[in-house]
């Protein structure tokens, strides 16, 4: 890249954006400077609240009214965007700079065909006639590798898959060959195999056109996969910036070191498999079929889980990995009996619970506890953390004082202040809430703990802590853990055994080392091949 001779596509100088009064800090973004050169992919990486999306929206001139840029300048090919008029910004969008978003479903208008939506861009910004516009759209649809461009042109967003929708977004963004493409977490909502395809596409397109890309992500795997240069953000400040290789392998700042060290390795740790514990849970040909019953139509049958055989012993962690819709959560919820399985058996110890009536099941509820994905929705916002933790034990006959004493002890177990029991959920962060949920599950003294994507919503540094906590608890209490995740890296770090699920079936089942080391099923191989940054071994640095 001959960056010296060319003018940067985007130059951000000393940018500060103020947060509204009463926020947790004064600035969303503070004195951030960086450049994006033609043909270069710059990754802005940071945890939630680091201000990376605010930067993207400021560049596009799409900032919410409550946020105000207070200083600095943003130069798009030398033109200051912060002082540009609303009309000028409208001219620049799509022609010189474009943006793609995280959620392709909500970013597209559901009542317009994809072709019409791209056409809107063209008819707004060009004088082309209808036939030329259509030809141009078909060409760009072809370029983003959508099959049958003619059919896609006439399709509505709901008729396409998530990956296809994101391709439409990319086509719309690139149809006028902008010099700058801003991608705000464009693959976060996608499955890992789709993500790999989209990343490849973005890299190919920008290399072909020499587009500068500002790529926003929280995932270091994606960074390793795609970035030329990386900027690390924390609390709105630029911590460190440099070429990808340098930042990932020789970070200078403590925060960067901590972040990169927190990224779980995709190579499973050797944990010494022992199969001496008593079996806590065994499923036999477990299945869940949803039938959409209707008087007038043929019943629609969806097999969410088919013939799932699993077993977990005390002190073991079994991971179920798979993409969305693979049936992994269905299995977990069948085991916890939050939904009723339609086929097969679930043995909890020696008790078969799959077909047990609700009344008989209640005493067994204690034995299986579940921690959910979303730390913000898994706690009732109206009751205190103390009441939340003691609810279960009190249902099973413990007095309030006894239950509270147990809750205090558990708060220490999950490394939170026991005096915080009278606080409400909104006073805690996501990671803390997840620890409270673990404490609540443990308060029931379960035999099996199910973690359903329990760390997926957390930032990588917090995720690491929660994973360590879960593992520590498993060892200390000799618990059986069923760990549901879509994240192969997390699975590699925490699981003794792994079951890979696809389309409701277990396609591969074995010890973590075996599954990760020498996968047999085609699907598993494809899944691993798609994992972003799989070739990169993230170093462990002392902070």
């Amino acid at each position: 890249m001959s960056t010296e001779t060319k003018q940067p596509v985007l130059e951000v100088r000393n940018l500060s954006v103020a947060l509204p009064k009463g926020g947790d800090r004064v600035h969303a973004v503070e004195k951030v400077s960086f450049t994006v050169n033609p043909g270069e992919i710059v990754c802005l990486v940071g945890e939630s609240g680091s201000g990376k999306s605010v930067i993207a929206f400021t560049v596009m001139g799409l900032l919410a009214k409550a946020l105000k840029p207070t200083s600095g300048e943003i130069l798009l090919q030398g033109e200051n965007i912060l002082t540009a008029s609303e009309d000028r910004l409208r001219e620049l969008r799509c022609t010189r700079m474009s943006m793609i978003f995280q959620e392709p479903m909500t970013a597209l208008n559901p009542v317009m065909t994809c072709g019409e939506q791209i056409d809107e861009v063209l008819s707004t910004h060009t004088q082309l006639d209808a036939a030329t516009r259509k030809a141009k759209i078909i060409a760009i649809l072809d370029r983003v590798k959508l099959p049958e461009p003619e059919r896609i042109y006439a399709s509505y967003p709901h008729q396409l898959s998530g990956g296809q929708r994101q391709r439409i977004m990319i086509a719309m963004a690139l149809v006028l060959d902008p010099v700058l493409l801003i991608a705000d977490e464009p693959t976060t909502a996608l499955d890992v195999t789709t993500q790999a395809e989209i990343l490849k596409l973005v890299a190919e397109l920008q290399a072909g056109q020499g587009t500068g890309v500002l790529f926003i992500t929280h995932d270091f795997g994606v960074v390793a996969e795609i970035a030329h240069r990386v900027a690390v953000l924390r609390w709105g400040e630029l911590v460190e910036m440099g070429p990808t290789e340098q930042i990932l392998s020789r970070p200078v700042q403590g925060y960067t070191k901590m972040l990169i060290s927190s990224v779980p390795s995709i190579t499973p740790v050797h944990r010494g498999v022992r199969r001496d514990g008593t079996t806590v849970l065994r499923t036999e040909k477990l299945g869940k079929t949803y039938t959409g019953s209707s008087f007038f139509q043929k019943a629609r049958v969806v097999k969410a889980a088919v013939d799932v055989d699993l077993d977990i012993r005390r002190g073991e962690t079994l991971g179920i990995v798979g993409e969305s819709g693979s049936g992994k959560s269905t299995v977990a919820r069948c085991i916890a009996r939050l939904i009723d399985p339609t086929e097969g058996k679930v043995y909890l110890g020696d008790t078969e619970i799959a077909t047990m009536s609700a009344g008989k099941l209640r005493p067994h509820r204690r034995r299986v506890q579940i921690v959910f994905q979303d730390p913000y929705r898994s706690m009732n916002p109206r009751i205190t953390v103390g009441d939340f933790i003691i609810e279960g034990p009190m249902n099973f006959g413990l007095s309030r004082d006894e239950a509270m004493a147990r809750a205090r002890k558990l708060m220490e177990t999950v490394r939170l202040d026991p005096n915080a029991l009278d606080r409400f959920p909104h006073q805690f962060s996501g990671g803390q809430r997840q620890r409270i949920c673990i404490a609540r599950a443990l308060a029931m003294e379960p035999e099996l703990l199910i973690a359903d994507e329990a760390v997926s919503a957390l930032d990588v540094s917090v995720q690491k802590q929660v994973l360590e906590l879960l593992d520590e608890i498993r060892v200390r209490l000799n618990l059986a853990v069923l760990f549901i995740t879509h994240d192969l890296r997390v699975a590699a770090q925490i699981c003794d055994y792994v079951a890979v699920m696809s389309k409701g079936r277990v396609v591969e089942y074995g010890s973590a080392e075996q599954v990760f080391g020498s996968p047999k099923a085609e699907y598993t191989k494809a899944l691993f091949a798609a994992a972003p940054g799989r070739h990169w071994e993230f170093g462990k640095f002392a902070a």
Partner: protein, 311 residues
Amino acid sequence: MSAITEEAVDSASIAAASTKRKSLWLVAIRNPNVIIGGVILLTMLLIAILAPFLGTVDPQRIDPAARNKKPGTEITYRLDDGTTMKRVAIMGTDSLGRDVYSRVLYGARVSLAVGVAVSVISVAIGMVIGLVSGYIRWADGIIMRIMDGLMAIPGILLAIALVSIWRAGLITVVFAIVVPDVPRVVRLVRSIVLTVREEPYVEGAISVGTPTWILMFRHILPNTVAPLIVQGTFLAAAAILTEAALSFLGIGIPPEIPSWGNIMAEGRTLFRVFPHNILYPGIFLALTVLAINIMGDGLRDTLDPKMSKKV
């Protein structure tokens, strides 16, 4: 070493999370719509309660000598003990010589009573039915079909039927308005229950063995309170209007009891000559309903989470 970073991460995330969540009620009572509506409504309430002390006379007292007097006319009253008293009828008198000012002020009692009674009763009944319908799946189909049926009954027809069976009166009117209102509340509560029951915290409560009734009242019901208060205000406003319409048609409150609808019905025949008989109760009626609706709008802006998302 990891303990140190953990502390650092924690303190950062606490800073992010602990921005204080203001009580919705404090926000609500600062909303200008709520203040304006509330003040007017409070005035009406005071008028209704203090009607006997606001220079009124017996609103049912007929005085053939003082029929159809225009507002501001001085009238000589002959009291029961034979003495006479002069007073200005500031809103005039009706065709039976009754003092319109007194009737309008006392009429506020009926209107507000109907509004409050209808909203409280239909919200209470609708909440329970909606909760059961939304949470207990097998009951849902049956309950909702019954509710659909109830909703198909027009309030005014029901009132006519009820008056012919029982007799005209406050209870009949309230009952006739409540019946078609209940399904509206049921639908609202049911829709909230259907979304909240899928929340992980409700599933979490199920998995720790919380009995169904505690689940409903502790984890699900509180989510319905704010939307129900909003819905309640609109029901009250509609009920006041319906009561006036029923009384106007002569199938509501008995004609001797002053209600805004009755006063207007009575003044209808001589409306062209003496518009005051309809004008004054009309103003009070419109003002009250407007105040309730303004307040309801304000409450919805602040209490309803879907509306309050706007920046």
